[in-house]
C-alpha cells in the first residue's frame, strides 16, 4: 500500500526534536532487557505475572518476538521511559516491578496503532490497558496527574450523567494543584461558546449515579476479599 510506505517516509522525515525526546530513558529502544538490571537487588520476578496479564487481557503475550513494530509506530514513544516492546518483554519475563514503575503505562494514548501493526495479532493496546487496571488495583499509578484527570471526568459523569467540561477542569485543577491548566484556551473557548457553562440536566443522571455506586460497592468488596 503506497500510503503505508508514505507514512514511514513521513515519520522518518519528522523525527522528534531533541527537547521532546524522553527525558530519562533507562533503556535505549533496542536494548534487550537484562534480568539483572530490571529488578531491584534482592527482588525476585513475580512468577505468575505474565500468566495473569495473558489471562486477563486474553492476549497471546508469549508470541511477541520483539520485532519492535509497536514502538516504531507509537505516537507517545518520545515521552516513554520504557518503550512498548520493552514492556511486552518485561511482562514475558515476569518483571512486574519494572512494568509498574514505567511512566509509559500512563502516557499511552490508546490509539491502538501498536495493535494494528503487530505481526502476531497481539492487541498490545489491550495489554497496556490491562496493565493499567492491574497497577491501579495495587495503587501503583506512577503518573498521578493522568489518573486525576480521569477521576475528575468520571466524577462529573457520576453527578450529571453526561460530561461537564468546566466541572471536570475545575476539579482537575484542584486535585492536581495545577490552577492554570489551559487558561490560555479560556478566552477563545468562551467567546466561541465551546464550553457549556451549566451541566446538561436529564433524568438519566440518577440511573448513571447508581451504576457508579454499585461499581464502587463491588470494588470495595473485591478489595476486602483480597
Amino acid at each position: 500500500m503506497p500510503c503505508r510506505q508514505l507514512i514511514h517516509h513521513m515519520e522518518a522525515a519528522f523525527p522528534p526534536r531533541p527537547s521532546q525526546r524522553a527525558i530519562h530513558a533507562e533503556y535505549s529502544m533496542n536494548e534487550t532487557i537484562r534480568l539483572s538490571k530490571s529488578s531491584s537487588p534482592g527482588v525476585a520476578a513475580s512468577p505468575s505475572f505474565s500468566q495473569e496479564v495473558a489471562s486477563t487481557s486474553k492476549q497471546p503475550i508469549h508470541t511477541c518476538y520483539q520485532c519492535g513494530n509497536c514502538s516504531a509506530g507509537c505516537p507517545a514513544a518520545f515521552a516513554y521511559d520504557l518503550q512498548v516492546n520493552q514492556i511486552m518483554r518485561a511482562v514475558q519475563l515476569n518483571q512486574k516491578d519494572l512494568v509498574y514503575r514505567a511512566k509509559s503505562l500512563w502516557l499511552c494514548l490508546g490509539c491502538a496503532t501498536c495493535s494494528l501493526r503487530c505481526p502476531n495479532n497481539i492487541d498490545v493496546a489491550c495489554v497496556m490497558e490491562t496493565l493499567r487496571h492491574m497497577a491501579r488495583a495495587e495503587k501503583k499509578a506512577t503518573v498521578p496527574v493522568v489518573e486525576k484527570f480521569w477521576l475528575s471526568f468520571l466524577n462529573m459523569i457520576r453527578t450529571f450523567g453526561r460530561s461537564y467540561e468546566i466541572g471536570t477542569m475545575v476539579l482537575f485543577m484542584l486535585r492536581s494543584l495545577r490552577l492554570t491548566t489551559d487558561v490560555d484556551l479560556a478566552p477563545q473557548a468562551l467567546v466561541k461558546r465551546k464550553l457549556g457553562l451549566l451541566p446538561h440536566t436529564h433524568q438519566g443522571r440518577e440511573a448513571v449515579g447508581r451504576i457508579f455506586t454499585r461499581f464502587h460497592e463491588l470494588q470495595c468488596k473485591a478489595r476486602e476479599g483480597r
Binding site: A125, V143, G161, E165, K194, R210, I211
Partner: protein, 296 residues
C-alpha cells in the same frame, strides 16, 4: 428504517458545530434520525481506563435504551462513542461479562442490541457519491483539502470495519465528487494526542503539531475531520501546537459535515462555521454555484 441517534456529550458543548452541521446535512439528504431519550455519557477514555465493566455498563444503558425504543441501528457522530459501543456489544457476547455488567445496571441489558454506526459511515452507505453530487448546489472546486480520520474511526479494524484501517478514503471520495481537490495525507489515521492536552500537554501539542505541519507543507487549505476531540486538538489547541512546532499554521479544521453542508447549499450560520477557532472565512469566496450540467 428506524435510525436512533446518540449525539454524545461533546455535541452539546465543545462540538456544537458538528451537531448543527450533522443535523443540517442529514436533513438535506433526507435521512431521518431520532435522538434517544435520556442518553448518558459513554464514559469515554476515562471509564475504560479505570474499568472495562464500568465502561461497558455506561454504554450498555444507552444501547439498551435504543433497543427498547425499537431502533434498527444506532448512529453517532463521535468515533470514540462508537468505539465504546462496539467494544461493549462485543464483550456482552460473553455471558460472564454480561452478568457483571448487568449487576451494575438498574435492569438487565436487552439481549439483542441494534448495530451501531458512525454518521460518516451511514451517509457513505445510504447516499452514494453520485447522488451526493446531484444534490449539491455549490461546487467545492478550488478547495485543496486533506481528510483526517484520527485513530478510532478505523481502529481496531475488527470492530470498526472501516475501509483500509491505515488508508480510509470515504471523505476523499465524497468531497472529490463535490469538486474538491483531495490531497494524499499520510497522517490521516495518526493520533492527535487525544485527551492528554489537559494532563500532559506535550503529548497533544507534539502529535497535533505534526499533523498540522504536514498538512501545511502539502499546501492544504483546510483539514477535514470527523472526530470532536481531534477537531478540538487541531483547532482550539492549534496555538499550543504552533508553539511546540515553532511555526504558524493558521489552518482551518472544519468537520466533514460542515464542508458537505456548504456544498449542499446550507447557509454557513446553520453549519456553525462561526464556531471554528481558526476561521475558514477566507475560503468561502472560492465557493461558487455549480454552473455546469451534472457529470460534466
Amino acid at each position: 428504517m428506524h435510525l436512533a441517534y446518540f449525539p454524545g456529550c461533546s455535541a452539546k458543548g465543545s462540538s456544537l458545530d458538528y451537531e448543527l452541521s450533522t443535523q443540517a446535512v442529514l436533513n438535506a439528504l433526507g435521512i431521518t434520525v431520532w435522538e434517544i431519550d435520556d442518553w448518558n455519557c459513554c464514559g469515554s477514555t476515562p471509564a475504560h481506563a479505570v474499568s472495562t465493566e464500568l465502561s461497558s455498563a455506561l454504554c450498555a444503558r444507552n444501547l439498551d435504551l435504543a433497543a427498547k425504543a425499537g431502533a434498527d441501528q444506532l448512529l453517532t457522530p463521535c468515533p470514540s462513542c462508537l468505539s465504546n459501543f462496539r467494544a461493549t456489544a462485543k464483550r456482552l457476547e460473553d455471558p460472564d461479562f454480561r452478568e457483571k455488567v448487568n449487576a451494575l445496571l438498574d435492569t438487565p441489558c436487552a439481549e439483542t442490541l441494534p448495530p451501531t454506526s458512525s454518521v460518516l459511515q451511514a451517509i457513505g452507505e445510504l447516499v452514494d457519491c453520485e447522488t451526493l453530487a446531484k444534490k449539491a448546489t455549490i461546487s467545492l472546486k478550488g478547495l485543496k483539502l486533506v481528510a483526517y480520520y484520527g485513530c478510532l474511526m478505523s481502529r481496531p479494524p475488527e470492530l470498526m470495519h472501516f475501509e483500509d484501517p491505515e488508508n480510509p478514503m470515504l471523505i476523499e471520495r465524497m468531497l472529490e465528487a463535490l469538486g474538491a481537490e483531495m490531497l494524499d495525507f499520510p497522517l490521516k489515521t495518526a493520533c492527535c494526542g487525544a485527551a492528554f492536552g489537559i494532563p500532559k500537554r506535550p503529548l497533544t501539542a507534539q502529535n497535533s503539531g505534526r499533523i498540522l505541519e504536514l498538512a501545511a507543507n502539502l499546501g492544504a487549505d483546510a483539514i477535514v475531520t470527523c472526530c470532536p476531540l481531534c477537531q478540538m486538538n487541531l483547532d482550539l489547541r492549534q496555538a499550543q501546537a504552533e508553539k511546540a512546532m515553532g511555526r504558524h499554521f493558521g489552518l482551518p479544521v472544519p468537520y466533514f459535515t460542515q464542508i458537505l453542508g456548504l456544498a449542499l447549499g446550507i447557509a454557513p450560520q446553520d453549519l456553525g462555521l462561526a464556531k471554528l477557532v481558526v476561521p475558514m472565512d477566507a475560503l468561502l469566496p472560492k465557493l461558487a454555484p455549480k454552473t455546469s450540467a451534472p457529470n460534466a
